[in-house]
Symmetry: C2
């Protein structure tokens, strides 16, 4: 069952249309809610008049900040607590919310929005990092200097190492804020009844939502249930989810059932996109190419509030370095408020941003050293059991094997030897964490319950979310492996706060490692309980569970089927089902005040390569991506390659097409998927995905993780390949055809000017 | 919390209309099913033509026996397996089913029923016990002699004891078949999806239904979930429930969602009413009134098939005797097939039938002995720790205290001394079991799970049903008592086969005793787990749970609230909730082949008295009922009295109004509640309910049970009171005003004739 292409257990439900998504749910007596968003990205609110809206037949309620007795006027997002539920005095971005309308029909709610009158006094808009950094104007009057986060950390003796160094490379890179583009818009239905709330939605973080709803409504967590629906993608966007919280708040106010679904436009307006960054970086090495030190200066765009922006910024500062042997490092990061959507988690969580800068700068260093970029990296990669500059202590590290395999799959040396005009190849390495202790300091790991009842039904109950990554199938595989049953017959319940263990949710690529281990332990506990009852109450003698059957432990003889054993043992137990409880606490630390520490139980590594063609007319194509990952033991070969395919596609998107740009007025330039331009299947190059299977001592069966890594280094690999093809450094993502053409033309003009001179 | 009038935890949901009953449920894309019932009570089916019905637009499917590939052509009811799903060759009662129609709308399904053509050849109808006993005709061609069950049991030396006896009393009594009259008609919605079935319904026996559905559809039990809905009464009628089984079968055949709801008429036609009986009985005593022996000969009406009829008949033979010290007893019972609805469980389960006979015969004996009927009973009652004639070994027995209290509350001695013309008082004792091992021989007791999670929410998960008796509140009280929390805040999940322990369901008045103990054990287990983690991982030192808080075990100091402890301990446990598992296996035996054994962990006792007035015009009124019960410790005073009120009202119904009579053609005389004539609040006499609280060594806090006892001896108490009032013995229930008037007139005529003679 392990290392096989086991089909997704939810595949049939999804392809037959039986899977129920949040907006499919229609409960009796549902009311519909809509939100009035700001008209300006920064303005003073002079007057809100809701009288006409309230008078519209079918309108149940119209609420502004003044009408609502919030338990807490601000609510949590990420680690901070500075987001207001409804704007009262100011609006600070186009998605800011001024009023809720609840009506009998969705159309009536929409009509009522148009009847709300708002008078604004426009204020200067802080739309770009440069403006925010100079702080001529404020994005929010309560945030002096626009600074949401200062971070300065030095490890080792940076100035000393820089003094010793003989070769330097530096650059300044820009990485935009991106939309996660989960295809299913946020939707929730909240039922308030007799003091209790039941909220149906899709999420990455069921228990966070419950906590947030409790904080905003004042209803104790124990009277709130979050019921999971199928999810159409998350990618970090559902780590901070205001919509279910507000739906629940409204349900508790109108004392009934309220449903709210975002339009696609609202998904763009009121989203929590990734953190855009500007990164200055300098690398210092000795003459033989040994890395000595590194300095970065980073500006990161928080948006109007901070979602996970601070955590993302910190990870950008520290994570990418751990692939290489540095003596010292210096990071200076400033998180800045801007008049756009609050930014936060997106697959990779700050790591793609910094890899874009670091992996290009390494290539620049290779040019200066006249070394092959793969060689320079190989020289500086860490080994397993070494402690990295930021305190990581990976116990497996297959990065060098990844490089060797990637070179082979790209035919790297051959292509370097026989260069073809207009063609280029590029490489970028990557490192990530398989989980960390982040989320709740007092909470380290993961728990799973495995239930076997008289019918023989096996049910795994876990508090994490299935967000398309296939963890439900992985859980079923583990149970199938341990008990010898068919994985499709294992029920996996992921979410439902009234049934499952507590969890900080699906994030940080931690599920296979932490939760997988918990499921494994639950299987072992269950088997022990079951064989104990069979021995003591059914009189089987010592037995073991294998292949869905019970065998004599010493005789090896078939005693009965697992199903028969389930019935007999449950009845003998007076009906009690067997509940295997699996708890896993990873060998991982909380970072110290500077972020230093062995954060994760395991670390995945990878090498991504790109091959591009730059045509004479300035157009270019990405021809091939090679993506080789050390993810420990591969649990599901089909799904692992699927993760690589999806991650690479999103990496491509960041590299060449997507950009959630706003204009000077703070208005998004793209309000539809068509305008936002994600790459389609037509733009996708040939993808060669391969794995290096180190066997991790902590992960279940030696597995580490695969969810985030494939997105991380696609953009720098493409940028490096473009440089290889045409000698131009593209330091600003996305590297659009227009940009390439512009720089090619510039280069041509300069070359001509040189000739003329 | 124990012994207090704690309000029902589901009271608010019920009185505010928030409780969702099965027919309230409307799922997307539901199809509706209807059943074609037989036109005759006994006939050969010559032809069924469904073509016109199938052609009706909106009809999805029409199935007859020929169209359906049953996994098993017959299905289980009670202990037997002789009920066909659809009649193919014969129909054997008016409720027999010939065809299913599934249509897009319920109205279309009904219209299609009218289009099905059936040709019958009428056969002789066996409508009454006497006809079946003589077996001139057969109610079912496959049941020779109409005999469904012969039972002959002798304990001790009956003939010897009869030879020694000097005083005898005998009688022949008739007790009708009765409808349980749960107000909510049966309804179910079954969803078939990707090989799995989910069935929403109300029931007493979730796991029996799952078993039955699996047997009929061939879908393994582990792929079937039964989801509980609120229930509008059961009283035994939902112990065998064909409707959800057939709804599930149809859903699996049309591969979609099917809903079926009985009309009120169908509830009468296709019900599983109680077992009507004819009982001949002779009591033998010595000259001082000591009971020596007893003989009974009993005919019981099974109907067209056997539901629980055989078990009910056996209990009628054995249970009532155990109140008294007999040296020997002889029982001969014959269960007979008849052309009416299959009969089965109804509150009391055969015990009201036999008490009607025995308790009147004891009164006859008292007349012969010239003893007060209370005195004769007191002389013969058993004590605790004595073994009864059928093997019961009650460890508490408050029957004598019940008698003393009842006499006081009725003012018995005073009324006997100062007799008022036309007024009469009567007494009847009763005994029952608090649970038995019946249901599944390999399964003895009950299990409960108690879940405490990080929010502090406490949830009890049990496989028994809340059927209005208030067991959910009792469970909440027990948790509240043990943990010191508010019972309204305890969530009680009763049913949902995918969540709860296995259970044989709600029957036999076993829940408070067995399940109550399981809940108590679950509380203890939970507390032990929680305090263990607090001590070992949170470092609180030895602590105890009390009053919803955690205190130092030795210091007595307040450490933290239970909620705080839940969060801290769950997080320290990596998210795992605490799952207290409570298992209770009662000290009870399976009866031997003759039914001998100590069947129950505890036994309730009671005395019921009636006062009546017989008017000169032949009308009579029941003026007062005194109902005093030894139910061990009373857990909830309000609900216990509620049980007495309901039970007495149903006892009144059996005594004076209800009778599910059929005519010679097998047609029910009453097809509406109005015609069936249950007593209304206007007919209810003054009711004085009181308890004798013996403290049972096995029941939780000393509790036994109260669900069934109050129905048992109301009818004989009223019959005995009528005799006391007018000297006429009414040996046939119901004792209708017409019957009383007729007998009074007869008596008057005879008296006049005597005078004239």
């Amino acid at each position: 069952m392990i290392g096989k292409p086991v089909p997704r257990i939810d595949g049939r439900a999804k392809v037959t249309g039986k899977a129920i998504y949040s907006d499919d749910l229609i409960l009796p007596r549902t009311m519909y809610a809509k939100v009035l968003h700001a008209k300006y990205a920064h303005a003073k609110i002079l007057r809100i008049d809701t009288e006409k809206a309230k008078a519209l037949p079918g309108v149940v309620a119209v609420y502004t900040a003044k009408d609502i007795k919030f338990n807490d006027k601000y609510f949590r997002m990420g680690n901070t607590h500075d987001t207001w539920v409804l704007a009262e005095d100011y609006v600070c971005y186009i998605g800011d919310m001024l009023a809720f309308v609840v009506a009998e029909e969705e159309e009536i709610a929409e009509e009522a929005l148009d009847l709300i009158e708002v008078d604004y006094e426009e204020l200067p808009v802080v739309s770009h990092l440069k403006d925010a950094y100079q702080a001529e104007n404020l994005a929010r009057s309560d945030k002096p200097g626009n600074v949401g986060m200062p971070l300065v950390v030095e490890r080792g003796e940076v100035e000393k190492d820089f003094a010793e160094a003989t070769v330097f490379a530096s650059g300044k890179y820009t990485f935009p804020s991106l939309h996660q583009l989960h295809l299913e818009p946020n939707s929730a239905t909240a039922v308030y009844e007799l003091g209790k709330l039941t909220v149906y939605c899709a999420s990455q973080v069921w228990f966070h939502i419950r906590e947030d709803i409790s904080a905003v409504t004042g209803i104790p967590e124990k009277d709130i249930e979050i019921k999971p629906m199928h999810i159409g993608g998350a990618f970090g966007a559902r780590n901070d989810q205001p919509l279910p919280v507000f739906t629940a708040l409204l349900a508790s106010m109108v004392k009934g059932t309220v449903k709210m679904t975002n339009s696609r436009l609202e998904e763009f307006l009121a989203c929590r996109p990734s953190v855009g960054m500007e990164i200055e970086i300098t690398l210092a090495a000795d003459s033989e190419g040994n890395f000595l030190s590194k300095k970065i200066k980073l500006l990161s765009g928080f948006g109007a509030y901070s979602s996970d922006s601070d955590a993302v910024t910190a990870i950008a500062c520290f994570r990418a370095d751990n692939n290489y042997r540095f003596r010292s490092a210096y990071a200076e990061a400033t998180g800045l408020y801007l008049n756009h959507a609050p930014t936060g988690a997106y697959r990779g969580f700050g790591n793609p941003q910094m890899h874009f800068a670091l992996e290009q700068t390494i290539d620049k260093l290779a040019v200066k050293l006249n070394m092959d970029p793969t060689e320079l990296r190989m020289k500086n990669f860490m080994h397993a059991y070494e402690t990295t500059i930021h305190g990581f202590k990976p116990e497996t590290n297959g990065i060098k094997e990844c490089m060797a395999k990637a070179k082979e799959l790209m035919n790297w040396d051959e292509k370097k030897k026989h260069k073809v005009k207009g063609k280029g190849i590029g490489v970028a390495a990557l490192i990530h964490c398989a989980g960390s202790r982040a989320g709740k300091p007092e909470f380290a790991g993961s728990s799973a319950l495995l239930r076997l009842e008289s019918s023989g039904a096996l049910t795994v109950l876990i508090g994490e979310s299935e967000i398309g990554q296939g963890m439900n199938t992985v859980c079923a595989q583990i149970v199938a492996q341990e008990l010898g049953v068919d994985p499709i017959k294992v029920n996996v319940v992921m979410g439902d706060t009234s049934l499952t263990p507590f969890s900080t949710g699906t994030n940080g690529s931690k599920l296979t490692t932490n939760l997988g281990n918990a499921v494994l332990h639950a299987c072992k506990d269950l088997k022990q309980q079951l064989t104990g009852v069979l021995r003591e109450r059914i009189g089987t003698g010592p037995v073991v569970v294998k292949d869905g059957n019970i065998y004599g432990e010493y005789t090896g003889e078939h005693v009965m089927s697992l199903e028969e054993a389930a019935a007999k043992a449950c009845y003998a137990n007076n009906g009690s089902p067997f509940l295997g409880i699996g708890v896993f606490e990873p060998k991982a630390e909380l970072g110290d005040m500077t972020g230093y520490g062995n954060l994760a139980p395991a670390y995945p590594f990878g090498i991504q390569m790109a091959e591009v063609t730059v045509h004479d007319d300035g157009s270019f194509t990405v021809d091939k991506i090679v993506s080789v990952h050390d993810i420990g033991r591969v649990i599901n070969t089909q799904m692992a390659h699927g993760q690589v395919y999806g991650g690479v596609m999103q990496g491509m998107a960041a590299a060449v097409t997507e950009d959630l740009a706003i204009n000077k007025e703070g208005v998004y330039q793209a309000n539809t998927i068509l305008e936002y331009k994600p790459p389609t299947i037509i733009e996708m190059p040939e993808l060669v995905s391969s794995f290096v299977e180190t066997i991790d001592p902590y992960g279940p069966y030696g597995a580490k993780c695969i969810a985030e890594p494939p997105i991380i280094s696609v953009a720098p690999a493409i940028a490096n390949a473009l440089y290889d093809a045409c000698g131009i450094r593209f330091d600003k993502a996305p590297i659009t055809p227009a940009e390439v053409r512009k720089k090619l033309m510039e280069k041509k003009r300069n070359a001509n000017a040189d000739k003329e001179a």
